[in-house]
């Protein structure tokens, strides 16, 4: 195999010119303890460079030496076992305890006798319901700026909420008090914070969700799936229950499958007008293209140690075994932005993830239940920047008449100013109860201008029309850097919830 690779490399120099993801971001696969299936569900950082990991089999492991470039330095110590699927783990620097989110409770674990194994398992918060359905996962966050933990609760199955607060995002205050914070959750996959400390979660394609999404958890908001809204009477802080989406729109004998392009009432953008609490997804993680099963959300706070994408978000996917990159901005008070493929080729379905201060992204997961491209049943891996900067779209911002793009490297003004270097397609998903859905209401806009800035680092695209509520799929096949290379990833999907006034 090695020899074959060598021969290919020698006689086909042409391939060397085409950069690949691995040139810029290296994946290291760790050996894991033989006595268990280390199906990583959650990862947090401990002081002195150690990691703490919760698994789907209910174990909590302390990992030392994972940051080292020599993988033989990695060692594992079992801190606790027997918990019910640990899909959230958080180290609290204030009390030095570990907080594990499990199916029906957040457990606070202490090692009182100091032998390296937990011996006190306090119930920190268990004020939500569980019925035994497989779907009723609970995903937990790390501690936020205020010292709160967040929990997102999957519905009972895809449609209903048969136990209290299923389909909700909750905040748990430092005293263990639970604050119902957002409704409308369907099947959450991960929780994370942006550089400003705002909270996001990933939801999965299914009823009311044509695609996986990255959603902004604004307290008081309704995130789109009405199945859990029966619990509003137990959450007086949330105000009145939102009106349900769709049924009113489909009165008068109109069938949900009837197609009337552009005036369909089953659109997020239309329903936002009627349902004041409804918050549209910040970014559609376009189904089948970006992923099928969005999970961990990782913010780059390494100030350049993970490459040029400081403060951007990285979203993992279980089914595609990949990481995608998200740039967000706020327009008219609402989060929106672009998702761009980033790194594929992880060994199993990714579920948990965390970046350390040195810009190393630790990820892990399993393919259990849904299958994953990686091919391995479970994995624990590290993704690091090699120090080489890929040629990528850096940021993509909405403008009143188009988009502004910046790049990680100086661009070739000839190709970047040629409108033929770009193509765009706009589409959306129906906002309706049926499972999943097609890309609908397609519009092919005209790219009327591509103006390169004087500093040669950004491009201003003029697009006609922009469509509020649509995903704007931009291809940049012809754009080159000053060295004549094309982009490592030539596509981005911008969710245009709002069109800025200026």
């Amino acid at each position: 195999m090695k020899r074959l690779f060598l021969i290919l490399a020698l006689c086909a120099p042409i391939y060397a010119a085409d950069p690949v993801e691995a040139d810029f971001y290296k994946i290291t696969t760790f050996e894991t303890p033989k006595e268990t299936a280390l199906e990583v569900g959650s990862i947090d950082l401990l002081p002195d460079g150690k990691l703490i990991m919760g698994t789907r089999r209910g174990e909590i492991w302390i990992v030392s030496g994972a940051g080292s470039s020599d993988t033989s330095n990695v060692s594992y110590k079992l801190f606790a076992s027997g918990l019910h699927e640990v899909l959230g783990i958080a180290y609290n620097p204030k009390d030095k305890n570990i907080y594990a989110t499990t199916r029906y409770e957040i457990t606070r674990l202490k090692d009182v006798d100091g032998d390296g194994r937990a011996d006190v398992f306090d119930n920190f918060c268990d004020h939500w319901g569980v019925s035994g359905d497989y779907h009723e996962y609970a995903i937990g966050s790390h501690f936020d700026k205020a010292g709160d933990l967040w929990v997102t609760l999957c519905l009972t199955g895809s449609f209903n909420s048969n136990a209290e607060f299923r389909g909700w995002a909750l905040r748990i205050k430092p005293d263990g008090k639970m604050v119902p914070t957002c409704s409308g959750i369907r099947s959450p996959g991960g929780l994370g914070f942006d550089a400003d400390g705002e909270t996001y979660y990933c939801d999965n394609q299914g009823p009311w969700h044509g695609s996986c999404t990255l959603q902004h958890l604004v307290p008081g908001s309704f995130q789109g799936h009405p199945g859990g809204n029966i619990w509003y009477d137990k959450a007086p802080n949330m105000g009145p229950r939102p009106i349900d989406p769709l049924p009113e729109a489909f009165s008068n004998g109109r069938n949900r499958k009837d197609k009337t392009p552009h005036v369909d009432p089953d659109r997020m953008v239309t329903e936002r007008e009627r349902i004041k609490q409804l918050l549209p997804p910040a970014v559609y993680l376009v189904h089948g293209k970006i992923g099928n099963s969005a999970s961990a959300i990782i913010c780059d706070l390494s100030a350049g140690k993970f490459g040029p994408f400081s403060k951007q978000l990285f979203v993992a996917d279980q089914s595609h075994s990949n990481l995608s990159r998200v740039f967000l901005e706020t327009v008219n008070g609402i989060k929106q932005g672009v998702v761009i493929p980033f790194r594929s080729g992880f060994a199993s379905g990714l579920i948990g993830g965390r970046m350390d201060e040195e810009g190393r992204v630790f990820v892990g997961g399993s393919d259990r239940g849904w299958g994953a491209r990686g091919g391995k049943p479970f994995c624990f891996e590290k993704c690091e920047w090699t120090g080489k900067t890929p040629f990528e779209v850096h940021e993509m911002r909405a403008k009143p008449d188009g988009f502004e793009l910046t790049f990680t490297q100086p661009i070739d003004s000839t190709t970047a100013s040629d409108v033929k270097s770009y193509s765009m397609r706009e589409f959306t998903y129906a906002y309706r109860e049926e499972y999943g859905g097609d890309e609908v209401s397609e519009i092919i806009p005209k790219i009327t201008a591509a103006k390169v800035a004087e500093d040669g680092k950004s491009v201003r695209l003029t697009i006609s029309p922009l469509t509020k509520g649509h995903i704007h799929e931009l291809h940049l096949d012809g754009v080159k850097n000053t060295e004549g290379q094309t982009l490592l990833h030539k596509v981005g999907y911008y969710t245009l919830n709002e069109i800025p006034a200026k």
């Binding site: 299936a37 789907r56 089999r57 209910g58 076992s81 027997g82 918990l83 019910h84 699927e85 499990t102 029906y104 409770e105 457990t107 606070r108 006798d113 937990a118 011996d119 006190v120 398992f121 306090d122 119930n123 268990d126 319901g129 569980v130 019925s131 035994g132 359905d133 497989y134 779907h135 009723e136 199955g157 895809s158 048969n162 136990a163 299914g206 189904h287 089948g288 293209k289 099928n292 099963s293 089914s319 595609h320 393919d367 259990r368 239940g369 849904w370 299958g371 994953a372 491209r373 091919g375 049926e434 499972y435 999943g436 890309e439």
Partner: protein
């Protein structure tokens, strides 16, 4: 002029000879598998296949030519995901010869197609991204084998626990079976008889042949006078026994011996060759082999071993509600505590628990204890503490949609031996509950004991009672035996029978309860 017509007639005859194969296949809920890893049809046979999506994800069913690398085929779609998405994840691949639509969760579609003429193994797969590695199976196209010829039966009367030596007995009645299918069809005898079936079986060529039998009660198959496989004794038709033997080309003497004790009468026999599929020789088809189609088995067990210290397993445990905490103690004594009812939910001995239901696939559903002598001391997921002026009245029962009011779960602490003490509050009282084991639950010596200590501090409401157990009890040597649950006695100071409840008036202090396996 006549020739084409003749050919047409022949073709029609052949077609009508092969009955339509009516098959069903379902996607299993939350397992990323079809329920049927193998389908069997005959060459050119019309097939009517009902495909049902029992899962919460979209799935399809795509049949391919033999030798197709279905996972690679499905994966290849990702090279142009946009096109694939438009095709609803049906690969554009000439090796696909039949397929369903992409079914939404809980949709159903009936496919009708003609099985390929060429015998072989045709893989089927779900081509939705990421599914192909596990959601797959094989359609086996094989002709059917020949049946029996010249089948006769001989009926014998007798009360046996095992097959007798029929050669030394005189038949009560004999006759020919025109259908040439093995069948026990007697109007006058329901119990206590035996039947010997004899006939001829033609091996189309020299080679190995596999024989299958199952019966209620015993049976034995002989070919050319030699025993091939036996399933003797009194039993239901649970297993299928099978064995492969070499046969020369040509006719062989077939002999199937059977006896019936009482109750159910069932007899199954089949055979299979290298170039023909499993062919039933009996009219009755064993449920596991009906139509020759195998259904998916459950997961391989993952029993949790308890060695030197207690093992904790928090999960959905059957009988312990949705917030169950299983504890397996060294010495074969186990319990499940409920953080829902704040009470001991189950006690059992022997092996602890099998984690395979929760550690495979998506982890839903309730798992029963793996051991035996399972005792649910009180009603399912019911609290021990209750305020009542009539302790013989009914205790609260479990409402799955609500939590018990007045109770708050605090958690548990492990002692130096890593044995848990459970903590909770009830109104203004704080309760700690710990367990110790003595003896060995696996040994039938009557010394296996679970000692439960309940420490109550703080203030209890008036008329508070503590219930140890519910059921019918028999006082015996200072202990209580639960009627109908023989192996246990329950012993505690101050305990009294109150109707169907075994109770103690609750007060601050310590209560000790001993659950003992008496055999």
């Amino acid at each position: 002029m006549f020739r084409p017509l003749l050919a047409l007639l022949l073709a029609a005859t052949t077609l009508s000879a092969a009955e339509t194969a009516v098959l069903s296949l379902k996607t299993m809920t939350a397992q990323m598998k079809y329920d049927t890893p193998e389908l069997l049809v005959q060459p050119g046979q019309p097939v009517q296949l009902t495909f049902e999506n029992g899962d919460d994800l979209p799935h399809n069913l795509v049949f391919c030519q033999p030798g197709t690398d279905t996972a690679a085929m499905a994966m290849k779609q990702m090279e142009n995901a946009e096109v694939a998405l438009k095709r609803n994840w049906l690969p554009d691949d000439p090796r696909i010869w039949a397929h369903s639509k992409m079914l939404n969760p809980h949709e159903k579609e009936t496919l009708t197609f003609t099985a390929p003429e060429k015998p072989g193994t045709y893989p089927y797969v779900c081509t939705f991204p990421g599914h192909a590695l596990t959601m797959r199976g094989e359609l086996k196209v094989m002709k059917a084998g020949e049946g029996l010829k010249d089948l006769h039966f001989a009926l014998y009367l007798g009360n046996w626990k095992q097959l007798p030596d029929f050669s030394k007995l005189k038949p009560h009645r004999e006759g020919k079976i025109d259908s040439n299918l093995i069948e026990v069809k007697l109007d006058d005898y329901k119990n206590e008889f035996g039947v010997v079936f004899t006939g001829k079986l033609n091996a189309p060529k020299k080679g190995p042949y596999r024989f299958f039998i199952s019966s209620d009660d015993g049976s034995r198959l002989l070919i050319d006078g030699k025993e091939v496989v036996a399933y003797d004794g009194i039993h239901p038709a649970g297993d299928i026994k099978e064995k492969s033997i070499p046969l020369e080309q040509g006719e062989h003497e077939f002999r199937l011996e059977y006896f019936q004790g009482a109750a159910n009468i069932q007899l199954y026999a089949a055979w299979k060759g290298n170039d023909f599929q499993i062919t039933s020789l009996s009219k009755w088809l064993h449920p596991n082999w009906k139509g020759g189609t195998k259904k998916q088995k459950e997961f391989d067990p993952i029993p949790l071993a308890v060695t030197t210290e207690p093992v904790i397993y928090r999960n959905f445990i059957q009988g312990a509600g949705n917030r169950g905490i299983g504890v397996g103690y060294p010495g074969g004594i186990n319990l499940a505590w409920s953080a829902e009812s704040m009470n001991l939910a189950l006690i059992w001995r022997g092996a602890f628990i099998d984690a395979s239901k929760h550690w495979n696939s998506r982890g839903g559903g309730h798992q029963p204890p793996l051991g035996y002598d399972v005792l649910q001391p009180t009603g399912e997921v019911t609290p021990a503490f209750f305020v009542t002026d009539k302790p013989d009245a009914a205790w609260p029962t479990w409402d799955k949609t609500k939590r018990y009011s007045g109770f708050a779960w605090q958690g548990y602490s492990l002692d130096a031996k890593r044995s848990p003490t459970f903590r909770y509050t009830w109104h203004n009282a704080e309760i700690e509950e710990s367990f110790a084991v003595e003896g060995n639950g696996n040994k039938p010596d009557g010394n296996g004991k679970l000692i439960r200590t309940i420490k109550v501090s703080g203030k209890l409401p008036p008329n508070a009672w503590y219930r140890l157990a519910s059921g019918q009890f028999e006082a015996k040597d200072g202990s209580f035996l639960i009627k109908g649950v023989k192996p246990f006695t329950i012993t505690a100071a101050g305990v009294q029978m109150a109707g169907a409840n075994l109770v103690i008036p609750a007060k601050p202090g310590t209560m000790a309860i001993t659950y003992q396996w008496i055999q």
